[in-house]
Amino acid sequence: MFAAGAFALLVALVLALARAILGPTVFDRLQAANTVGTVAMLMLAVLGFLGGRPEFLDLALVYGLLNVVGTIAVLKFFRYGDLGEPGEDAEPRT
């Protein structure tokens, strides 16, 4: 049954990848990249069970953390054009 789950995740991965390639705006591509990250995380967990090596779950955790940080960082870059920008929510500099 883990093989069926892994296959479904592969299909979802291919569809999200298609959106990342097609996407007309940069936000479509980012959303697709975020979905690919989530699906890859689940894929790592399922593959760990499939191969009888549940140590893969640690890799899935690290991958999820990196996915979030990467999405927010790229988003900030495309919104302000600079990673060091404080943004509109921050206190104005005196």
Binding site: A8, A12, R19, T25, Q31, T35, P54, G64, F78, R79
Partner: protein
């Protein structure tokens, strides 16, 4: 070997995989960025939650289940944050949502 948790976990895994495929299909087929975000939410909530629940049922009461629970919590907190930031950035950039023909975009 008791059969009931196995059958339950298999059902959860298959349903989670189906929800993942449905969400990714929506990501491809939806007409507009904001509706695509809506479709991607299915993958993050129903798909991931059901698959993780199925794997927790397979793992039983152990450290593996705790790790799977941590992954689920991470997805639960991180995915809405990323989606919120994404749509806020898209609105700030001036990406207009697709509206019905007679609708006025200035009125929410």
């Amino acid at each position: 070997m008791n059969l009931a948790p196995d059958i339950l976990s298999w059902a959860c895994l298959v349903a989670g995989g189906a929800f993942c495929v449905i969400g990714a299909l929506g990501l491809v087929r939806m007409p507009d960025f904001y509706t695509r975000v809506h479709a991607a939410g299915i993958v993050d909530t129903a798909g991931a939650g059901l698959m993780l629940l199925g794997m927790i049922l397979q793992a039983g009461f152990s450290l593996i289940a705790v790790k799977l629970l941590m992954i689920g919590l991470l997805i639960l907190f991180a995915s809405p944050t990323a989606t919120h930031a994404l749509t806020k950035a898209a609105l700030a950039r001036g990406l207009a949502p697709l509206l019905a023909p007679g609708e006025d975009p200035s009125k929410p």
